[in-house]
Symmetry: none
Subunit: 511 residues, 2 copies
């Protein structure tokens, strides 16, 4: 940081220091993203220890670079002279100051202790999940919540601790916001699902059942991302158990996914989902590529893009003929006699289940609702780890109508809490709601959404999302993106209306 | 580097600063190795620009960490109190001081520009090679040589620039040393090859010809590294045009290689070669893994290990039955009726050819000789990129008796110059000579070399090399390793004697 120290109150030197900081952060993030996301997918088993050390050191260097007191001074001085800065520079300073604030008030020892705790907890969780042993994991959950409460107090002593973390994953959102949002979702989805379950007109999945060669599923995976419009010249595709998308750079997005021989749709919708993340990463303005503005703006907005392509496009009736044709090209024997309508119904069976990652579009937000409500109770002190299994069972019974038979398919199913990620789950549901509102605005803007899906030519959809959302990277927060794209603030009604309309038709409710 | 600044003349603080520096360097090297070696193999095409920027920045950070004046002070103070340090710490300080000296005089901007230039040049070279377009690559070669001349002048203004780079790849060696070495090699190999070509008793390759399924060749590749004793739990195996071995860490060695359907031996000897590099990387004392002592001590010593397993083991008559059995397991139809003697002769046909990486053991050093002589001319200013194809053709005609039909199989065949690696090629020939001397010493020490090869159980060979060479990592230079392992200084006579004896017998010279 010699460049930073050299800058006194000379705007030109401060701007040079900003650029130097951005290059340093870019290279460290690039290394952390590539090693951290590719590593677990491709590295040999003995690579783990040294990879962990390398990642911890690179992360330490990133925090050190950002928390350098001289950086705080540079950012403050530059923030005071907005008239001398470009719009991009003003956004960089805002985002960098926020990233810095998120780190600078937490004592290094606290952060280090938290890393060690979650590293150990993830290990304990993995074993506990495999045998369904909640008691083994519970003490860790309590300790992690305590640590998160302390860290939130350090970051922002005047604020509700859960709000601190909700804001970190989705800037601008707090529990009051999510309470309203989830209340609307609950009021719509719980009775809607009950009606669907009571309907005598239920779609079936028989037409998509069978065994599907894994090698051909990987060819299909490539067809699907190509159909979505992901730039394959900037894509690496690999295999893993839990699908994810990573992005060391705008020109290098990686998707890791799975293929199960007995479930071709799992691969199909995982790929469409991850492809949506990839489109967002690839669509950020290349001018941002070496700055902190690169990448998606928040977890919720990222999830909005992935669920947009998974559900609003992928599971739409308009897209069904194109998807069927794509499936039939790789599996002519199995899809040659399926109709688009049959495929559409098979993709949209609403089935109350136990496992979030296997949930359909209608039940999905209820899985999130359960987690959100439990996180609220843990952070308000109204519940402790020991209460979680009971709460989990009660809420799954109340909202989804299912009985939880074991902790493996219950409160131990997700890795997020073991990693300390409280406040992350709600963004999953929020993303779906963002997406529904974006689709509405897109159509109001004249995009022929159904026509694009029917033609299997999504360029008009990509162009609209690219212009309104993707290109902005982190330079605008979600609330501003929604406002600018839709001409109004976020409203969950588009989402609940969409679900009501779609599932009432499929299940012939009120017919 | 707060830890470094904090250290005044307190040995304990200096040692802590040394440890902190080593952790920082470890993490940056890890990132540079992984991104730099895996990247070109697996990244999508559009990743190149940003990868280049990230690598340049990480390299800049590495240089900055090492060149920090406070680091120079710490190393000097510690070097003055050897009695308070462990043997490992003394070696760290020696190696770090040398690494620092190699960089401290090159301006950071020059180094960063060089990284960007070679990143771009490697891309241009790849395309140029595929279409044989020397003119596309030539301007890059000139620019890279100019950059290397400038950098050498900055590093050591009083020294011949080519010597500067020869010393960097093989500490202690200069052009005068290599001139003597290559003169002995040339005096032996050029007439020996001519005699072989004139012999009426020529081994044939018919028994290894045919088409070999690529998928099975990759299974064979795994068999071969397992047979060598490479730890597969610390190995990543991938595909590339130009085989290489990389090693982000002791627990993560990567080999990229190729398989040609019409040439099974190409894959076999590439794998045995790269496996030798992998054994060296994996064999370094684990106590060094987070220090600058990790990895092989020099290019020449690394090549000694790879050529040891490729040639001294892999192409020996003693190993032929085991290799044949391994081949026949994957290709029973094609190798079921071949005899070990036939295989031995087929793998040892001395065939003057165009491509270095496809060369046999006898002609190989002549390919290196051509490159060494051309590098000498480029660095003395007696030749420029435009002259290289003519020089290449003349020297291949003179030493190998072959006509060069195109640049793809001519001066564009290797990636080294595109990466700026001048002074690297000579180490390939030197490594073969080290290997021959090591084998002699090993046998004199009582290792049953032929017996180990015949049994296909190379543990005794690995144990000797592991103890004498591998475990020491960078803590000893090549000259010291050879002296300690062999009880005498390096001598090329073991190599020329070995070649003379082996090929005289195969070609029945003087019989």
């Amino acid at each position: 940081m010699a460049e930073v120290n050299a800058a006194l109150s000379n705007p030109r030197a401060d701007i040079a220091a900003l650029d130097a900081l951005e290059r340093t952060l870019f290279s460290l993030r690039y290394a952390i993203d590539e090693i951290g996301s590719l590593g677990p997918v491709i590295d040999p088993p003995k690579a783990t220890d040294e990879r962990g050390e390398a990642l911890a050191e690179l992360e330490r260097a990133r925090v050190e670079a950002l928390c350098d007191p001289a950086v705080g001074d540079v950012l403050e001085r530059l923030a005071a002279i907005p008239e001398l800065l470009s719009e991009t520079q003003r956004a960089q300073i805002r985002v960098l100051a926020r990233d810095r604030d998120a780190l600078v008030r937490i004592p290094a020892e606290e952060q280090a202790a938290f890393s060690r705790l979650t590293c150990e907890a993830e290990d304990v969780w993995r074993r506990a999940k495999s045998v369904g042993d909640w008691e083994a994991f519970a003490p860790y959950l309590d300790r992690i919540v305590e640590a998160r409460l302390r860290m939130a107090a350090a970051k922002d002593p005047g604020r509700d601790p859960y709000d601190v973390w909700l804001d970190e994953y989705e800037p601008g959102c707090d529990a009051a916001f999510y309470d309203r949002f989830f209340s609307q979702v609950k009021d719509c989805v719980v009775p809607l699902l009950a009606d669907c379950m009571a309907s005598r007109s239920k779609p079936g999945r028989a037409c998509v059942e069978g065994r599907f060669d894994e090698g051909r599923q990987w060819e299909l995976a490539r067809d699907l991302v190509a159909l979505e419009g992901v730039d394959e010249k900037a894509l690496w595709l690999g295999r893993t158990e839990h699908p994810f998308t990573g992005g060391p750079s705008t020109g290098f997005v990686l998707i890791a996914s799975h293929a199960y021989e007995d479930d071709v749709l799992s691969n199909v919708f995982s790929m469409l989902h991850e492809g949506g993340h990839a489109l967002y990463e690839q669509g950020v303005d290349p001018a941002y590529r070496f700055t902190s503005l690169r990448g998606g703006t928040s977890m919720g907005m990222h999830e909005a893009q992935s669920r947009f392509f998974e559900n609003l496009v992928g599971r739409s009736e308009a897209f069904a003929p194109v998807l069927l044709e794509t499936l039939a090209r790789r599996f002519p024997g199995q899809f040659g006699r399926v109709t688009p309508r049959q495929l559409y119904l098979a993709e949209n069976c609403a089935e109350p289940g136990l496992v979030r990652t296997e949930a359909d579009e209608l039940t999905y937000p209820l899985h999130i609702l359960v987690r959100y409500e439990i996180e609220r109770l843990l952070f308000s002190g109204e519940a402790a780890a020991a209460d979680v299994p009971r709460l989990w069972a009660e809420k799954y019974r109340a909202y989804l109508g299912v009985e939880v038979p074991d902790h493996t398919r219950g409160a131990l199913q997700d890795t997020h809490w073991a990693g300390g990620d409280f406040g992350y789950f709600p963004t999953y549901a929020l993303g779906s709601a963002y997406g529904a509102q974006l689709r509405h605005a897109m159509v109001a803007d004249g995009v022929d959404f159904d026509g694009a899906c029917e033609a299997g030519e999504l360029a008009a959809i990509r162009a609209w999302l690219g212009e309104k959302i993707w290109r902005w990277g982190r330079s605008k927060d979600s609330a501003k993106l929604i406002q600018d794209a839709c001409g109004e603030p976020f409203s969950p009604a588009y989402y609940t209306d969409y679900l009501t309309e779609k599932f009432s038709a499929i299940y012939r409710l009120g017919a």
